[in-house]
Each structure stands twice: as C-alpha cells, then as structure tokens.
Amino acid sequence: MSAAAAFFYLFAGVTIASGFMVIASRNPVASVLFLILAFVNAAGLFVMMGAEFLAMILVVVYVGAVAVLFLFVVMMLDVDFAQLRQGFQQYLPIGALIGAVFLIELLLVVGSWTIDPGLVQAPLGPVASAEAVTNTQALGRVLYTDYVFFFQLAGLILLVAMIGAIVLTLRDRPGVKRQNIAVQNARTQTMAVETRKVPSRQGVEV
C-alpha cells in the first residue's frame, strides 16, 4: 500500500468516524468539535486530489467561521439536546434500513453511470492546464482579470449584507456607558485622588 493510499484511508476513516460522532456524541459542544475534525479531514482529502484551493477555503470558511458560529449558537442557546434526541435509538433500525436502501440505489445508479466524453471537453472557460499552474494560481489569474466584474459585484452584495444587518439590528440604546479613551488618558492624579485630613473621632463626609 502506497503512502498516498494510506493517507487517503486515514483521512477518509477519520472523516467518517467523526461524522458519526457528530450525531452520536452526548455533548453538543463535542459534536461541533467533531464537525470541525470532519471538515479538517475533508480538507486533507481535497489536498490529496490536488484541489488545494478548495481545501484552504474549507478550512478558512467552514472551520474558521461557520463552525465557530455553530459553537457560539450551541453555547448561547439553552437547548436541551438530550430531550431533542429522545427516541433516537428507537428509530435507529428504521433509519438504518432506509439508509441501506438509499445506499443500494446510489450504488446501482453510480455503477452504471458514464460521463459523455464530449461533455468533459465542453467547458470553454479560460482555465490553464493543471500541469502548468496550481489551481490557486489558475483561479487568481482569472478572478481579478476576466472575472473582475463578478468579483466587484460580489463585493457590493457583501456591502448590502453588512448595511442590512446594521440597519435591521443596531439600536441606539440610551443610558449606555461608553468608554472614552481620551478622557481616561487625560486623567491626572489630582483628578482621581483627593487627599483629605481626617480629624480624629469625627470622620469626613464622602
């Protein structure tokens, strides 16, 4: 068994195992962490296929943003996951049966699947051959040149999303104490500390 095959089975095995643990784990936080493990291993599989850009995007977007968001939601929301999962074991046999049927169907379909050789030739996009450049380079070459219009439009769409989120949720609450750094920095000893003579047995008024 070559090293590549060994790594493939390692990544694939861990992906499936952690995928199973996502739904089997009792603790929802552990579920999310297993999900992250599954994402990272899937990224490893992408690297092995030579799609390193997709792998990096998977790590950056899914692990870096989406999974962390999940983690926040799980920790912030008071959801009783044990109650949600009640009866899960009871339905397991039926679920397994349906899953098995789908698997057989999929195998039958994919087994007889042939891709029209003409279709593989069809894409007309200006993509350099895989031997000449890595796919990150290939994407980078067209993203800011041929597809700069789409890139800018996507930027505008993200701007709308940002403005929209602010418009719909930001409220100006009165009576909120805000930090004023200039005032803080300008404080001197005389402003902060007051020295008073305390007469014996009389005290001072505060």
Partner: protein, 480 residues
Amino acid sequence: MNAAQIVLPALGPALPELILSVGVLVLILYGAFRGERSAEGVNVGALILLVVALFAVMSQSGAKVTTLNGSFIVDNFSKVMKALILLGSAATILLSRDYFQRERIDRFEFPILLILCTIGMMVMASANDLIALYLGLELQSLAAYVIAAFHRDNLKSTEAGLKYFVLGALSSGMLLYGASLVYGFTGTVSFPGIVAALDGTAGFGIVLGIVFVAAGVAFKLAAVPFHMWTPDVYEGSPTPVTAFFASAPKMAAMAMTVRLFIGAFPDVTAIWQQIIVFVAIASMALGSFAAIGQRSLKRLMAYSSIGNVGYALVGLAAGSQEGISGVVVYMIIYLAMTLGAFAVLLSLRRGGRMFESVDDLAGLSRTHPVMAFCLAAMMFSLAGIPPLAGFFAKYYVFLAAIKSGLVALAIIGVVTSVVGAFYYLRLVKVMYFDEPVAAYEPMPPGARIVLALASLVVVLLGIVPGPIVGAAGAAAKSLF
C-alpha cells in the same frame, strides 16, 4: 513566469453603474460620519446621483457594445430599461421623504440601499451571461429584503421582509439550479455561447434547466404561480417601498426575462413559449379576479401588478421583435401609471394616520378634485380605456400576440382586462359618487411632482404615442 498581459476592460459602457457605485460609497461614508442627521443630505445626494446616472445612460449611443469579458452588454434595449429603472428609483426617493419623516424612520440608509438595489437592477438589464444575471439579481433582491423590513418596529413590515427573504432565497436557489443545468449541458454561461452550443436543438437537460430558470424568473416578476408573496409583502412594507417594488424592480425583472429568453434561447422558442403563455394567462386571470374582493389599496395594487406582468408577458410569449417592442411600451406606461397611483396613495393622510382602504377614497373628487382627477386618469388608463396610454400598452402586446398566431392568448387577455376594468372603475366610482368623510392633509411636494409627471405621461402618450413606440421599436430591434 511570463505573466500574461493584463488588458483593462473598457469601462465606458458601464459608466452609469460606476457613477452609482462610487457615489454610493461616498454617501455611505458621509452618512456614517454625520450620523442620523445626514438623512436629508444623503437623500439629496442620492437623487442627484440617480439623475446624473440617467444622463449618462441617455448619452450612450445605443449601439451594441459588450465589455468586461463579454458579460456586460449595452444596447438600445438596456438603455431604455435602465432609464425606466432610474426613473422608478428617483420617483421612490421623492415619494419616500415625507412618509419616512412622519413615521420617524427617516434614516440615511434607505437611499443608500435604494441606490445599491438600482445598481443590481441595472446589471440585470445589461447581463450577457448567467453569472452577471444572478449577481445582479442577488444585489437587487438582498437590498429589497432589507428595505421591505425597513420599518423594523412594525410587525407587518418585519413579517414582509422575512417572508420576502425566505421565498426569495428559495426562488434564487431554483434559478441557480436551472442555470447550473444550462451550464452543465452547454459548457458555457455566456448568452451568445449558449446560443452557439444549442444550435437550435435542446435536449432534456436544457429543457429542465429552462423550466427551473423560468420558475426563478417568474418569482422575481411576481407572476402566477409564483406570486404568493406579493400581496403580503406589498401590504406589509412601508408604502413608499411598496411603490418602489411595484415600479423599478418590475422593469429590471422584465428586462432580465427578455434578455434571458431572447438573448440565450432565441432558437428554441417552442420550449419556453408554452411556459410563458401559461404564466401570462394565469397572471392575467388571477390579477383580475383576485383583486375584485380586495378592500386594501396596497393589496389591490399588488394584484394589479400581477395582472399587468401577465399582459406584458403576452408580448414576450409572441417571441417576435414586435412582441418585445410591445413589452417595452407596456413597461414604460405601466411605470407611469403605478407611480401615479402610489403618489395618491401616499397622500391619504389625516391626523397623523395613513388611510389605505378603498373606502377611504370616498368623495375624493369633492375634497381634492385635482388629485381625484389624476387618479381617475390612472385608473381609466390601467383599465385600458382609450385615448389614455394604457390602451395603447395593451393594444401593442395583443397585436403582437395575434401576429404570432397566439389568437387564443390575446382573446383571454382582452376578456381578463374587461374583468379587471371592474375594480379599476370601482375606485373611480368611489371617488366621484360616494360621500366624503373629511379632507386629507395637503399633498406632500414629492408626491405632487410624481403625480403631475405621471399624469402628463399617461395623457400625452395616449394622444401622441409616437415617441415611445419609436424608442421601444429601436430597443426591440437591438435584441434581434
């Protein structure tokens, strides 16, 4: 590595969009630094931007030019549709000022989102490939979801925004799936490329793709059977936003539809023609029958817009140059009629409250004779009664349908427009023959301007339809 020479794409054809994009960024910064006090300034700035962009659009030669790697096309069709879109957006800003100030939701983000929405719509009108079309559509839709929920403390407005968002996302998904099928079976996303790849024949995959794309497009047009969101969203949104939804985005959606079907699938007309014929018949029928029982003016206008989209689609179903010319004429006149009607609707205010039901129009002819006369002109025009402009709008699309052999479609259209005339004329009856309750406050200046211009268009174009018919003919010619 020998870096490929990078050639800057020609940006001249996209000048109006660039003006708006750069201008909106400046307005955002101005608004962010000035805070809430900047609403007035941003509104004025947005209006100026729209007018400048309109001049930039009008100064384009109208010759067919593609740029930005072939995904952006400028021709007579895009010129006319962009002018309509910009007019609709500018009218919305005029209509919205007074309303937003009185409802105390006068925030500077509204004109900014409106401009961003306008950029999306203009990209839709100029899209020459599926990616540009989808990105323009998303830019337009996302901004529209936000402004539907702009009155965020109002339950109905937030409901409208949420409903629009969920259903809009679903329809975008359908359109995207159809687009991916078309890409998968042709190997290209550019419209001329698709035409070349299809070569006049369409396999099963392409048919499936066209069906899904048509479903997504029909949702954006609010055409039956993808119209369900329309009455709720129109009713819940703040009224100036409803006026906007009924005007500019309809122009953009229609421009996109025509561009897509005529630009990418001109040789497989038989496939999409039956879809468009069905959608047109269903929209015309539902628009006329469902509006009869409506008491709310905003819901009435929603059903009216569904019906009007149906009539405009009759022209597209014809699939001929005449048909497209009819669609353009229809959209020009529809824009004027809708904005005029909403200008009146936004003026029904008494004692700090807006009135939005049909019965609130009672006796308007005695309390506000000019306003009532203008609204009556709009309603007669919407009902399609000569010599007003609405008659010619319907005349041209039906004529094109008959010339393309779709006689049944034209007959159904005429029958449903007779049914539709009932509820348009009922408004006239309520205004002229019912007893008034009390006078409304004087019309806000913005609404006054919009109503005057709209009435002028509806009356003048009915008498002298030459100029717009000529412009529409040139627009349609550039597509064939």
